[in-house]
C-alpha cells in the first residue's frame, strides 16, 4: 500500500464523526490544561486515561494524543502572559515571550507561538510519515538484545542529556524499574514484592502512579506558591496581528525549529523540552543581533514553539513503530495502549493500519482545529488564567480520585495515590524527576523480558550485546553519553587550572 493510500485510509478513519469528536475533545482539553500553569500534559493524560476505557483503543489514542499536542499550544499562553510555563516544554518560551508582554506586544507573541506551533507540527507529521515505514521495516530485524540495548540507551539519554546531575536521574529510573518489578513475573509466575496483597498481583496501577506523581504532587506544590497567584491582563484581538517586520523575522526560525524538533523528538530519550531549548540556542547563535534575545525577540518564541510541537509529533515514531516510548509522556501513552490490550510494535503498521494512519491523520486535523480555534478562543484562555487556583485544585483532587477508582474499582488504589503523592511531593522538593521514574516504570518490565530472552538465546553469553551490530551501536552511544559529563568536568578543571597560573 502506498503512502497516499495509507493516508487516505487514515483520513477516512479519523473523519468519522465518532472519532472526530474525540479528536476535538482531546485538543480542547489539552489546550485547557496546557493554559493552566502547574498542571502539565502528564497530569492531564493520567486524569483522562480512565475515561478512555469507555472508548475504542483507536479513539482513545487519538484523544490522548490530542491532549498532548493541544497542551503544547496552551502551554505557551501562560508562558507568554505570566512567565509561568503552562507545561515544561514551553519554559523556554518565557525567555522572550514575557518581555514582549511587558512591552505591550503580548498579542504578537501569542500569534507567533500559535503559527509556529502549527507549522512545527506539520513538519513533524511529514517527518513521521517518512520515518515510520522505514523504521518499522528496520524493526523487523531487531532481536531481543537490540531491543534491550535500545531501551537502555533511551534511559541513559533521558537522564544525561540536559541534566545537571545525571546520577539523580539514574536513581529515579532505577526506582521506577524496581517499582515495575512489583507483581507477577511473566517468565516464572513468581509473585515479586506483593507482600501477600492480591491488589498488587497485576503490578502497581499505572494510573495511580501517574496521578500520585503528577496530579497530587503538583497540586500540593502549587497551593501556596505565591507565583501561582498572578493573573493575566486582558488583550485585544487586534493586537494579535503581526507587523510586516515581524512577519519577515519568523519563517526561518520556524523551519529550523521544526527540523530540529522533528529530529530530536524521534530519538528515544530526548523529547520536546530539549528540542525547545536547542531551537532557542540555535536562533540566538544564528542571529545577527544576539543581544535582542531575552528582551523580546520574536525569533525566540517562534523557534522553540515550532521545535516542541514538531517533537511532540515525531515522538510517536519510536513508540508506535518499535513499541519503545522515547519520553515519559509516550511511556504513559504506551501504558494506555497496553491497558487497552494493544502492544505497539513493528507489526502494528501491518496489523492495525487504521490505528496508525488514523492517528497520523488526526494529527493534521487536530492541529488545524487548534490553530482555527485557538486564535478566536484566546480571550477564553486568558479569562481562564484569571480563575484562582483555589477553585481549581479541589476539583482536580476529586476527579483524580474518581479516575483512579474507576480503573479497577478498588479503594486500595486511592490509598496508593496518597502514598505515591507524598513521595512525589518530596521528590519535587529535592528536585528528583518523577517523570524519569515513570519512564523507568514502563520500560523496566520490557527491558527485563528482552534481556532475559537475549541471554537465553545466547546461552548466557553477555558478549551477545556487543556482537550484534544494532545492539553494539546502542551500547557504544550509551557509553559516549555517560562519558560526556566526565569530559566536560575535566575540561572545566583544566580551565580553572590555567586561570590559576
Amino acid at each position: 500500500m502506498s503512502t497516499w493510500d495509507s493516508l487516505l485510509l487514515g483520513l477516512s478513519f479519523a473523519l468519522q464523526p465518532q472519532v472526530l469528536i474525540y479528536c476535538v475533545l482531546g485538543v480542547l482539553l489539552g489546550s485547557f490544561v496546557g493554559v493552566l500553569p502547574g498542571i502539565g500534559a502528564m497530569a492531564a493524560i493520567s486524569l483522562l486515561l480512565p475515561l478512555t476505557f469507555y472508548m475504542s483503543p483507536e479513539a482513545a489514542l487519538i484523544m490522548l494524543a490530542g491532549v498532548y499536542y493541544g497542551a503544547q499550544y496552551g502551554g505557551a499562553v501562560a508562558s507568554i502572559l505570566l512567565r509561568l510555563p503552562g507545561t515544561p516544554q514551553s519554559a523556554v518560551t518565557t525567555l522572550d515571550g514575557y518581555p514582549l508582554t511587558q512591552q505591550g506586544r503580548a498579542g504578537l507573541a501569542l500569534f507567533t507561538a500559535m503559527i509556529s506551533s502549527f507549522t512545527g507540527a506539520m513538519i513533524g507529521i511529514v517527518v513521521l510519515v517518512m520515518l515510520a515505514g522505514w523504521l518499522s521495516a528496520l524493526a523487523t530485524r531487531f532481536g531481543a538484545a537490540d531491543y534491550a540495548m535500545m531501551m537502555i540507551f533511551g534511559l541513559v539519554a533521558a537522564s544525561t542529556i540536559g541534566a545537571t546531575r545525571p546520577v539523580k536521574g539514574f536513581a529515579m529510573i532505577a526506582l521506577g524499574v524496581l517499582l515495575g518489578c512489583i507483581g507477577t513475573d511473566v517468565n516464572s509466575g513468581a509473585q515479586r514484592f506483593t507482600f501477600g496483597q492480591t491488589e498488587l498481583l497485576d503490578g502497581l496501577n499505572l494510573v495511580a502512579l501517574a496521578m500520585g506523581l503528577f496530579g497530587v504532587a503538583e497540586v500540593i506544590a502549587n497551593i501556596r506558591n505565591p507565583e501561582r497567584q498572578k493573573t493575566a491582563a486582558r488583550i485585544s484581538l487586534r493586537s494579535l496581528l503581526p507587523t510586516r517586520d515581524d512577519l519577515r523575522r519568523i519563517p526561518l526560525p520556524i523551519l529550523r525549529g521544526g527540523a530540529l524538533g522533528s529530529f530530536f523528538g524521534a530519538l528515544p530519550g530526548t523529547g520536546s523540552t530539549l528540542s525547545a531549548f536547542l531551537a532557542y540556542a540555535t536562533e540566538r547563535r544564528l542571529s545577527r543581533q544576539p543581544e535582542r534575545f531575552g528582551k523580546g525577540a520574536v525569533e525566540g518564541v517562534a523557534g522553540p514553539e515550532a521545535g516542541n510541537n514538531a517533537a511532540a509529533i515525531t515522538a510517536f515514531t519510536p513508540t508506535l513503530t518499535l513499541g519503545i516510548p522515547g519520553d515519559p509522556i509516550m511511556a504513559l501513552m504506551l501504558g494506555a495502549l497496553i491497558i487497552h490490550g494493544i502492544q505497539p510494535g513493528p507489526m502494528m503498521l501491518e496489523a492495525r493500519p487504521e490505528m496508525f494512519w488514523g492517528l497520523v491523520a488526526s494529527f493534521g486535523i487536530g492541529n488545524l482545529l487548534l490553530i482555527l480555534l485557538n486564535l478566536p478562543l484566546i480571550g477564553i484562555w486568558i479569562a481562564m488564567l484569571r480563575i484562582p487556583f483555589n477553585y481549581l485544585y479541589p476539583a482536580i483532587i476529586v476527579f483524580l480520585c474518581l479516575g483512579v477508582y474507576s480503573v479497577r474499582g478498588l479503594t486500595f488504589d486511592i490509598v496508593l495515590v496518597a502514598g505515591i503523592g507524598l513521595a512525589g511531593y518530596l521528590m519535587t522538593l529535592a528536585k528528583f524527576s518523577p517523570a524519569l521514574l515513570l519512564l523507568g516504570f514502563v520500560l523496566g518490565p520490557l527491558i527485563e523480558t528482552n534481556l532475559r530472552r537475549a541471554l537465553l538465546i545466547a546461552r548466557g553469553d553477555p558478549m551477545v550485546f556487543l556482537e550484534r551490530p544494532i545492539s553494539a551501536g546502542f551500547v557504544f552511544a550509551s557509553v559516549i553519553l555517560l562519558m560526556l559529563p566526565l569530559w566536560r568536568l575535566r575540561r572545566r578543571k583544566a580551565r580553572a587550572y590555567e586561570d590559576s597560573i
Partner: protein, 148 residues
C-alpha cells in the same frame, strides 16, 4: 554550615530502598543463572544499583552547602487527608457525600478565609461530579450516603 539536606536524605532513602529490595529479593526469589535468569536476578541487580546511586547522591551532599526548599507541610497533610478520606468515604457516603467532604478538606490549606466560598465550591464540584461520572459516564457507584 547548612548542608544540602534534601539531597542527603533523598539519597539515603533511595539507598535504603535499594538495598532493602535487593536483600528481600535475594532471600525470597530464585536467582537462576545468567543463561536462565530467575525472578530474583533483575530486582537484586537493580536494587543494588539504586543503593549505589543513592550513596553517590547522599555522600557528596554532606559536604556541600544547600538551600532548604520551602516545605509546605500543611498543604501536604491536608491534600493527602482529602485523598484518603475520599477513598474511605466512597463506599459509605456515596459519590455525593464523598465529593462534598473531600472538597471541604481540600480547601483547608487555601489562604483565602471564610467558609461560604468553600461551601459553594464543594456543592458545585459535587454537582459536576454527579453530572459527569454518574449521568455522563454511568459509573456504577453508590450516589447517596447509606443511612442504615
Amino acid at each position: 554550615m547548612q548542608r544540602d539536606w534534601p539531597e542527603v536524605w533523598g539519597g539515603l532513602i533511595l539507598a535504603i530502598v535499594g538495598i532493602g529490595a535487593a536483600l528481600y529479593a535475594w532471600q525470597n526469589y530464585d536467582m537462576g543463572t545468567l543463561r536462565q535468569m530467575g525472578p530474583g536476578f533483575f530486582p537484586v541487580a537493580i536494587g543494588a544499583a539504586l543503593c549505589g546511586f543513592g550513596l553517590v547522591i547522599a555522600l557528596p551532599a554532606l559536604l556541600r552547602r544547600g538551600d532548604g526548599a520551602p516545605f509546605d507541610g500543611a498543604s501536604l497533610l491536608l491534600v493527602l487527608t482529602a485523598v484518603l478520606v475520599f477513598g474511605l468515604a466512597l463506599p459509605r457516603l456515596g459519590l455525593v457525600g464523598a465529593s462534598f467532604v473531600t472538597v471541604l478538606i481540600a480547601t483547608l490549606p487555601a489562604e483565602r478565609r471564610g467558609w461560604l466560598w468553600r461551601g459553594v465550591l464543594a456543592l458545585s464540584i459535587t454537582l459536576v461530579t454527579v453530572l459527569v461520572f454518574h449521568l455522563g459516564l454511568r459509573m456504577t457507584l453508590p450516589l447517596w450516603p447509606r443511612l442504615s
